[in-house]
Symmetry: C2
Subunit: 212 residues, 2 copies
């Protein structure tokens, strides 16, 4: 989000309850800061409700937790989402049985497809769900170029997201996996990803596809 | 298999019906040869029933099709398998709904674990199921080193398989994912693998894990 603002985009973050978000004294797991401290350093980034952020954006990013994504998008409001490109970064991680997480949808369906069925006029593009947040906007943190995937049913929307990935985030290798059913495959990578994070004791890694 | 024989191992291939295997006039998809033509070029490799091959081997490779693996191992006979290391290369691909395949077991269980539950005295090591056969024994076909995974509950068995991968097959990077439940993650990579094969129009590719 900060990366998009740096790039001159007018960014708004939506949460369920912006007042609670600002009052939350719990530091974020990634930034190690409270939201209000973080926002003080990024005054150009607005905070609003899910609905306000959805109405504000031309291009929307769903970075909510997988189990809350459909509810968050309902709160955002179909009328604020329709016709727009939604980059779906979420993963259907199910922590209800403890660690490691399993998936609450997989194999013959995906969270990306569930979102599209719930919001048929939203141009859902599944992307960025196979890597950690710091790398999404800064793939150059790794010593060599790695892969990011896009999948979706709208070619123009995929081209828009691919341009964002390349031009704003610095991705060199964006692999188009085809339609949104490809989200099954990228979401099902998460168990291996979680396993590798544990083995390597870092989330700063990604997959590179090496071919002959 | 030919690679193991080259390396001086006494190799036996087991099939359901060796007479039919030899009489089969259909060329193999990978070698583009009939089995009998292939065997004529590899006279040191024996052919037998599943049970004969299992009795013959110290180290066993399950390279049967996923949907037939449990049946093939039953035909091999528990008494011929018990106490041995079984490298499970199979994947639970379900072609019954057409292409692309889905998985007949996934998420909270895996084919590797099903095999272990059916044969509790076999030391199952899941490995090599995330890449195409030609690369399994020849990772140097790719322009840079890529990753192969091992998962299993017996540390000595995993060390045996890791040594085979490194010394006989030439793998530099063997990542130990932990116990056999890690087979869920590696088997669930297959839908992305199949998708990438289609997009790239080649099966000669593999994943490299790039970390900071």
């Amino acid at each position: 989000v900060a990366k998009l603002a740096e790039r001159g985009r007018a960014v708004m973050i939506g949460t369920r309850n912006p007042v609670s978000t600002l009052a939350n004294a719990q530091p974020d797991r990634l930034s190690n800061q409270t939201f209000s401290d973080w926002q003080a350093q990024h005054p150009q980034i607005k905070l609003g409700t899910f609905a306000e952020a959805a109405a504000h954006g031309e291009l929307l990013l769903n970075a909510t937790t997988g189990s809350g994504s459909l509810d968050a998008l309902k709160l955002a409001g179909e009328q604020n989402l329709n016709g727009k490109v939604l980059v779906d970064i979420s993963n259907p991680l199910d922590f209800s049985r403890g660690l490691p997480p399993s998936l609450f949808v997989s194999n013959t369906d995906s969270l990306g497809e569930q979102i599209r069925r719930a919001f048929p006029d939203v141009k859902v593009v599944k992307s960025l769900n196979t890597l950690t947040a710091a790398l999404m906007v800064n793939p150059g943190l790794l010593p060599e170029p790695t892969a990011v995937f896009v999948g979706g049913n709208d070619a123009v929307a995929k081209a828009t997201v691919t341009a964002l990935l390349k031009n704003d985030f610095g991705w060199q290798t964006v692999i188009d996996l085809g339609d949104l059913s490809s989200a099954r495959g990228t979401e099902m990578v998460l168990p291996l990803w979680v396993n590798l994070m544990g083995v390597q004791q870092t989330s700063l890694f990604n997959f590179k596809i090496v071919r002959q």
